[in-house]
Symmetry: C2
Subunit: 444 residues, 2 copies
C-alpha cells in the first residue's frame, strides 16, 4: 500500500491519471504487523490502533481496494491477474481476471512451518497477521495458559516471550542455535540470554523440536530429542520465507534466498511493467555487496515508495540496506546493523571486533543502565562494517548513529571524533558510541 | 586533565618518560561541571559522584597535581609559569616559578558578569564550580527559598530552572532574547517556551535586568526596565567567556571571540611548545567554515586527547565541531547540531528549513511522546546543514544521527534512505529523523 499511495501522489503531482487496483485476500490494509506482539501482550489495548490506514481511507484517496480477493495466478502474456473471492473460504469462486499495464507484487512472506508432528494441534499459534493475533488473544482469554513455550528465539519469538511474560505465563524459549538472537554474534547473544534469564524466562538452546504433544487435539507439551516442555500455549517464531508462489509459477526470476529478483528501481529484470517490493523480494546488502532476504517493515516501506514513484513515471532508486534492526524484551534492548563478526569474515573482510561496556547516562545520573556495544571493523582499513548493542533502556536507538556510520563507510577513528551530543541525562561525557569507536580504533 | 592523562598514555606506549605537572587553583580535578545542576536539584545525592578522577588518582598515575596553586603569569622566554599559593585566599604567597618544555593552557572559561547594580548581594549565585554548587545547596537548605529567578535561558539557565522546580521553588526565567534557548531558532525556542510554561515555569523574554534589589545585603528581587520579580534566590546563567588573561598578557594570540587561537594539533601558532584546549580556545566550525567559541565538555575532552597525544610525540588532529548539544528540563528534551536557519544564511548557505512533528515510539505504543524536528538544508545542493529537536522523552539523542549526517555532508534525500532501526517501542515505522529528512527533501 506504500507503493499504491506513493504512485497516487506521484501521478497527482505530475498531473497524470492513474488507476490503481489493490488486491487483498484478508479484510485489512496497512497495519503494523510489528505491533501485533504488543497487542497480544495487552500493552496496546485496541486492535484498530495498529491500523495505519483502512480500506475506506485508501478508497477515499482513489485506490480501488478489493478485500477478500486473492491473486492466485498471473498471465504475463495477457497482462491479467487471476483472482478468487475468498470471503467465504479458500474454495470461493474465481472472478473475472484483473487486467494490468503495470503489476506490483507485494505478496510478503509466509511463516516457516517445518513438518513437525503435532503442529496442527490447537494452541499452537503463529503470529503474523491480525487474524493470528485475534486467535492468540482469544486463546489467552479462554484458556488462561500458565505455561507458554516459544519456538524460535529471534525478534518475533522474543517479542512473543515478552507478551507472555506480561500475560503472567511462565515462559520457555527453545532454539536450535547456541544462543538466542542469531542476528547477533553469539557473544552478544549470550548477553541476551543472561538478560532473558534475569527476567525469569527459561532459555533452552541447541535443541530441535521433534513433536508437539497434544491431549484431545489441544497442545500439552513440546518435545525435543532430550526434553519435554509442558505447554498450555505454543507460539512459533521460526522466521518467514518470501511468498513467491504465483510469481514463480508465472516464470518470474527467484533468487538463491527464495525472493524475487528486482533491480534498484524495484523492477523485475527482463519483465517490463512487472515490479516487486517488500518481504517477497531479495535486495542488495550494501556492506557485503551480496543480495539478501531481510523481511523488515522499514525496508518494505522504503521500497514501496521507490516503486510507487517509478510506476507513476517518476525516478527513484532503492540504495539497498544494511540489516539494521532493533527489538525490546521487557527492559532489555537489542539492536544491530551491518555485518556481524563471522558474516564479515565470510564477506571477505579481515574482521576485527571490540566489545565495550558503558552506561546510557552519566554514571552518576539516576537510572543509568548498562549498555554493551560490539563494533566490527575491517582491520586493514579501519572501516566500520557492523555494530551490535545489548543493554537497558535507551540503548537500542544508538544503533542509528552506527548504522549511518556503516552506511557512509567511515572508519572507527573518524567516528570517534564526530561531534555527538552530551548532557548527563543522555550519556556519559563521551557517548557509548564514541567510546566503542575509540576503543576499537585504539586496538586496531 | 584529559590532555595530561592522554600524554601519559601516549608516552608510556612509546616507552618514553614524561614529567607532567598540573596546576589547579581549586581543590578538585576532573569533575563533571555539567552534573552540578543535578546535584543541586537533589537528583544526584553525593557531590563525589561528580568526580571522575581525584587528585590522588591522577598522582597514582604519575601526574604531579598541585592543588590551590594558581598560574598567575607565563614567561615565554624563560619558559616558566609564575604560580601563587591560594590555599589561604587570593593574597597567598608567590611560589618558585614552574619551568616547562611544553605548556598546556586549559584555563577554561569564566562566567559572564555584566555590571548590574546589586550583583554582589548574597543569594545571587553563579553555578560553574563545585564550590558554587556547595554555596547554592547551603543556601537552599538554610533559606528554603520559595521564589527562584534565573537570569539567562540557555542550557545552564534551564538546567538550573529544573533544579529549582525539583527543589519546590516557584521559578521565573528572564532572558533578553525573544525566546528561550537562543542556540535554537526562535520558532523552536517558542516550542521550548510552551513546554516550560507547561511545567509551571514563568518565562519572561525580551527583558534586560537593571538591578538586583536586596534587603540587608540579601537579594529580594530582580528588576527589569518594566518589571520587578521577587526572589529568594537568583541564579545566573549568562554564559561564559574564554579565560585567557594570563595567556594574552604573555602575548599569545586571541581570536575575535576572545578564545586562544590554536591549529588542528591544538598548538598555539607561532609559539612552539605552547598548546591550548577546552573552553579557553576557539575552534573550527566544520559547517560554517569559521572559528567559534563553543564551550562544551565533549569538545574539551576530544581536544585534550588530541593535545595530549601530540605533546607526547604522537600524531593527532582535532577535526573541528558542529555545535552539537543536548539538554533536558524536566520532561522536555532539547537538542541541536550544525547551523540554525539564520546562522546558515549568514554563513552563505541558501538555507531552507522544514519542521516536522512525529512521535518517539509507534503512535499506538503507550508513552508515545511528541517530537518536533527542524531540518535546515542548503536549497541548491540539498545538503543537510543543521537540525534542531524539541520533544518528550527519547527525543534528544536522535540528534546524533543528524549530527553524523551534517558531519558527513550528506543530502536530506540520502538521509531519508538510510537504513535506520525500527521497532514499535522505539519509533514509528519510519524514524522521526527519516520523516524529517524526507519531508525536507520533498519540499526542496
Amino acid at each position: 500500500m506504500s507503493a499504491a499511495s506513493q504512485a497516487q501522489r506521484t501521478a497527482e503531482q505530475a498531473g497524470r491519471d492513474i488507476e490503481i487496483v489493490a488486491l487483498e485476500r484478508g479484510p485489512w490494509t496497512s497495519y503494523s504487523a510489528c505491533g501485533i506482539p504488543y497487542w497480544v501482550s495487552g500493552t496496546v489495548q485496541d486492535r484498530d490502533d495498529l491500523i495505519a490506514r483502512t480500506p475506506e481511507q485508501h478508497r477515499a484517496r482513489g485506490i480501488d481496494v478489493r478485500l477478500y480477493t486473492e491473486a492466485v495466478g498471473i498471465d504475463l502474456d495477457r497482462r491479467t491477474v487471476t483472482v478468487q473471492d475468498v470471503a467465504g473460504g479458500t474454495d470461493g469462486p474465481v472472478l473475472e481476471p484483473v487486467p494490468f499495464d503495470q503489476l506490483v507484487l507485494a505478496t510478503g512472506a509466509v511463516p516457516k512451518r517445518p513438518p513437525i508432528p503435532g503442529m496442527d494441534a490447537t494452541g499452537v499459534h503463529g503470529l503474523q497477521t491480525l487474524a493470528d493475533g485475534h486467535q492468540v488473544i482469544d486463546w489467552l482469554e479462554d484458556e488462561q495458559p500458565e505455561r507458554a513455550v516459544i519456538v524460535g528465539a529471534g525478534y518475533i519469538g522474543l517479542e512473543m516471550a515478552e507478551a507472555m511474560v506480561l500475560r503472567g505465563a511462565q515462559v520457555t524459549v527453545l532454539d536450535q542455535a547456541p544462543e538466542p538472537m542469531t542476528t547477533l554474534d553469539s557473544d552478544l547473544g549470550a548477553e541476551v540470554r543472561k538478560a532473558l534469564e534475569g527476567l525469569g524466562i527459561d532459555v533452552v538452546t541447541e535443541v530441535e523440536v521433534t513433536e508437539f504433544e497434544s491431549t484431545d487435539g489441544t497442545v500439552s507439551a513440546v518435545r525435543t530429542a532430550d526434553g519435554r516442555y509442558p505447554a498450555d500455549i505454543v507460539l512459533l517464531g521460526l522466521g518467514v520465507a518470501p511468498n513467491t508462489r504465483i510469481a514463480s509459477e508465472a516464470g518470474l526470476p527467484v533468487g538463491e534466498f527464495g525472493g524475487l529478483r528486482v533491480d534498484e528501481r524495484m523492477a523485475v529484470p527482463g519483465h517490463p511493467g512487472i515490479w516487486a517490493a517488500g518481504d517477497c523480494v531479495e535486495v542488495h546488502d550494501r556492506v557485503s555487496g551480496e543480495r539478501a532476504h531481510i523481511p523488515l517493515g522499514t525496508h518494505a516501506n522504503r521500497q514501496g515508495r521507490v516503486l510507487g514513484t517509478n510506476i507513476a513515471g517518476g525516478q527513484a532508486t532503492y540504495p539497498g540496506m544494511i540489516r539494521t534492526a532493533a527489538s525490546k524484551v521487557c527492559g532489555l534492548e537489542i539492536a544491530r546493523t551491518g555485518l556481524g563478526e563471522s558474516s564479515a569474515a565470510e564477506a571477505g573482510f579481515d574482521a576485527f571486533a571490540v566489545t565495550t561496556e558503558s552506561t546510557t547516562t552519566a554514571g552518576y545520573y539516576p537510572g543509568a543502565e548498562s549498555i554493551t556495544i560490539k563494533v566490527i571493523a575491517d582491520r586493514s582499513t579501519g572501516r566500520l562494517i557492523g555494530a551490535q548493542i545489548v543493554g537497558g533502556q535507551d540503548s537500542a536507538k544508538r544503533i542509528d548513529t552506527l548504522a549511518l556510520a556503516v552506511w557512509q563507510e567511515i572508519t572507527v577513528d573518524e567516528l570517534a571524533m564526530v561531534d555527538l551530543s552530551y548532557a548527563p541525562p543522555f550519556s556519559p561525557t563521551l557517548d557509548p558510541v564514541t567510546i566503542a569507536a575509540r576503543r576499537t580504533a585504539e586496538r586496531l
